[in-house]
């Protein structure tokens, strides 16, 4: 999980020594930080998704639905607290926060339009699907800016395009069917978006850092 064992493991005298790979890894610390943002996204997204799933599958809020939602939200609180106690906490850079705010506004607007218009029609649901594409592009540009990675014509680009297309198809199909009431569907989509963004960061991180056994001597 941490890069310490791989990247800056102290030697027997407790001092750290340089080699070219160490420098490479230190240069990637910002990418590692980006991974932590990603993990936060996965945890947040997962619970946002599950807590709303319970509300979405039932037309009338039955007691078990409300209880499940509350349990899921409670689990989110404890998972966040556990994460903070295990891995520490940080505040993203001002610029990062602004970007997130802009993204948040974009989603809020698309959700608002989806709610104001008829939720069962395809168009507003497409908006949330398009939101998916925005997330992919946003993460892609962000990661590329941070590390000069990924390069052109690799699997990441393909994933980006495929993810966007699938998201729009998925959102449209479910939206057309009007299944399960779809009350909290846009919020669920947002949860999935956060999860996907986190997973994308994680995959990028894994492909960028050496495996744990490949340590410094």
């Amino acid at each position: 999980m941490t890069m310490s064992e791989d990247a800056i493991r102290p030697n027997q005298k407790g001092k750290m020594i340089y080699d070219s790979r160490l420098l490479e890894d230190l240069r990637r610390v910002p990418l590692y930080i980006q991974l932590l943002y990603g993990i936060n996204g996965v945890i947040g997204g997962f619970f946002l998704f599950t807590s709303n799933l319970f509300f979405t599958i039932s037309e009338t809020p039955e007691p078990w639905v409300l209880a499940s939602g509350a349990i899921s939200l409670g689990a989110f609180y404890f998972a966040s607290r556990w994460y903070r106690n295990q891995f520490g906490s940080m505040k993203p850079l001002q610029g990062e926060r602004e970007k997130s705010t802009r993204l948040g506004i974009l989603f809020s607007l698309s959700l608002l339009v989806a709610i104001v218009l008829d939720i069962k029609q395809a168009t507003p649901i497409s908006l949330t699907g398009i939101g998916f594409v925005f997330v992919f592009i946003f993460r892609y540009v962000q990661l590329r800016k941070l590390s000069g990675y990924p390069g052109k014509n690799n699997y990441f680009n393909l994933m980006l395009i495929a993810g966007g297309i699938l998201a729009v198809l998925f959102a449209n199909t479910l939206g057309f069917s009007g299944a399960y009431g779809m009350k909290n569907f846009p919020i669920m989509i947002f949860g999935i978006q956060l999860m996907v963004a986190g997973i994308v960061d994680y995959i990028t991180f894994l492909s960028k850092f050496p495996p744990a056994s490949d340590t410094y001597e």
Partner: protein, 106 residues
């Protein structure tokens, strides 16, 4: 860049920042607005005492700010780069990158 120029450039590198643990600390802090002690400890793999000593050195050089508060009964240490610190780590990485580039072209 000639060999001589490369060595001259190396000589200008700041020792205070260039020490690996401190470079890791400064680089990590440059990617965030602020972070807590635990995060840096996890990231660098340093012991509490060792990390604390590096942080004090950086604080004395006015490169970072240390803020202590209480969360319940526990002390919570928050760390933040000063403007000077942010500028210095940025310049340091620019120098390192240019050195690596020059060395790579040989």
């Amino acid at each position: 860049m000639s060999d001589r120029e490369i060595f001259e450039e190396i000589a200008t590198l700041e020792r205070l920042i260039h020490e690996p643990a401190r470079l890791a600390i400064m680089t990590a802090l440059s990617s965030v607005e602020e972070a807590d002690f635990l995060l840096l400890q996890r990231l660098t793999g340093l012991t509490k005492g060792n990390l604390s000593s590096h942080l004090t050195k950086l604080e004395n050089a006015e490169l970072l700010e240390i803020e202590k508060s209480f969360r319940g009964k526990r002390t919570h240490t928050n760390l933040k780069l000063t403007r000077k610190g942010r500028k210095r780590i940025e310049t340091h990485w620019k120098k390192l990158d240019s050195l690596r580039k020059s060395a790579g072209n040989k």
